[in-house]
């Protein structure tokens, strides 16, 4: 079974022409970066409220009232509500990105040795690695988060640690979510890398040993470099999944993108506008990740390997 077939569905294929796509990415990331800088630094420099929207929300409001009852009025009232919510949503997006990136990186660091033990380990270690991956992949992420946050009340212990919640270090709830995502993602990544390693022809291993390389060297120099390339589609699919599943952190009070938009919606009941704002940002993150991984896959590709 090729690596691709264990992939949980396909990577989101980025459609749309070249120029349009880059323009859209430019506007999307441009706005996010400007907004972040404004909130962290700009607001204090300019002596403005960091939570104030940059978009002309007031003009949307007036236009909405003047054209009230018409389609255009509806549009402007949509833009007003969305504009009002964007500052909070974008702050949450930063946390969503941090959660995803850290969990993917730390997950990879755990997944590679895990996968190598699954394929080349001794019986005991192999069984342990299999047990870990099957247990994590067999239970829902949300249940895992609840075990960590409510079950073990991990956050209470984390809260005592000195650096938690200071400056850029997220508060304890987010750290619990991060730990949960790292554990969860490491199991899925280990599965992709394991099946990628197994799709490296056996001949490669024997060839390495024939040249006199030790088992470990062969794994590091020959099998892993090829295996990791086979694993890229699976890995990038996991990245896309984690961006979306990071929204589950909302249920253990982590103020990331989804929670912030939902909290606003539960206040003003404008679920349509808020879901669209969150949905568009998630879509932007997912399409950017897919495009980025597509480029990485091309640059790293070796002719004739992994088709």
């Amino acid at each position: 079974m090729s690596a691709a077939s264990t992939v949980r569905g396909r990577v989101v294929k980025v459609t749309g022409g070249g120029l349009f796509r880059w323009l859209a990415f430019g506007v999307f990331w441009g706005y996010l970066v400007v907004r972040w800088l404004y909130q962290w630094v700009g607001a204090d420099l300019l002596g403005m409220d960091p939570r104030a929207p940059l978009l002309p929300v007031e003009t949307f409001r007036t236009l909405a009232t003047t054209w009230d009852g018409t389609r255009i009025g509806g549009l402007f009232s949509f833009l007003r509500v969305a504009g009002d919510a964007l500052p909070a949503a974008v702050t949450g997006t930063w946390l969503t990105i941090i959660l995803t990136v850290v969990a993917m990186a730390a997950g990879l660091v755990i997944a590679v040795p895990l996968a190598v033990t699954r394929v080349y380990g001794g019986p005991v270690t192999r069984w342990a690695a299999l047990g870990y991956t099957e247990l994590i992949r067999g239970t829902p992420l949300l249940a895992q988060l609840f075990v960590l946050y409510y079950g073990l009340s991990l956050s209470a212990t984390l809260r005592e640690l000195p650096f938690v919640g200071e400056g850029f270090i997220p508060a304890q709830a987010a750290l619990v979510a991060m730990i949960g995502f790292i554990i969860n993602s490491s199991a899925y990544q280990a599965e992709y890398i394991r099946s990628a390693l197994q799709s490296v022809e056996v001949g490669q291993l024997t060839a390495g040993r024939a040249v006199g390389l030790s088992k470990l060297q062969t794994i590091r120099r020959i099998v892993l470099p090829q295996g990791l390339r086979y694993g890229i589609p699976g890995w990038s699919n996991e990245l896309v999944y984690l961006i979306k599943y990071s929204s589950l952190a909302a249920f253990i009070t982590v103020p990331e993108l989804y929670k912030r938009t939902r909290d606003i919606a539960s206040g003003n009941f404008r679920y349509f506008e808020l879901l669209v704002v969150a949905g568009v940002i998630y879509l932007g993150l997912v399409l950017s990740a897919s495009a980025l991984m597509g480029r990485v896959e091309q640059r790293v590709a070796i002719p004739g390997l992994g088709e």
Binding site: R51, Y150, S153, G165, A173, T253, R262, D263, S266, G267
Partner: protein
Amino acid sequence: MGAQSGTTGEETIQDELIANGELEESNYTSYDNYVLAVEDLENGNIDAIVIDEPVGDTFANQRPVEVAFIYETNEQYGFGMRTDDDDLTTAVNEGLQTVRDDGTYEDLTAEWFGS
């Protein structure tokens, strides 16, 4: 500080504390429901929650928490209905009136909301 999202308790925290800078926004957590808020209060994740008085009293009797103080917002309790649902509204109001006239209203208030 904690509160259930979308409640007047949350609004009070947003307007009275966060807006005028007395409380850092990162120090406020909103919860799906107030029971989760009390759990986190017990776990020590948050130091205080803003909640409706009667619910606060019940938790105070059941759990190792206490009511710090009452912040009077003279909010009223009410039934939420669709604006165009007139016959339901009249039916509920009539029912309320009869319950008030024959005294059951006081008994229920005493029973469920204490003194």
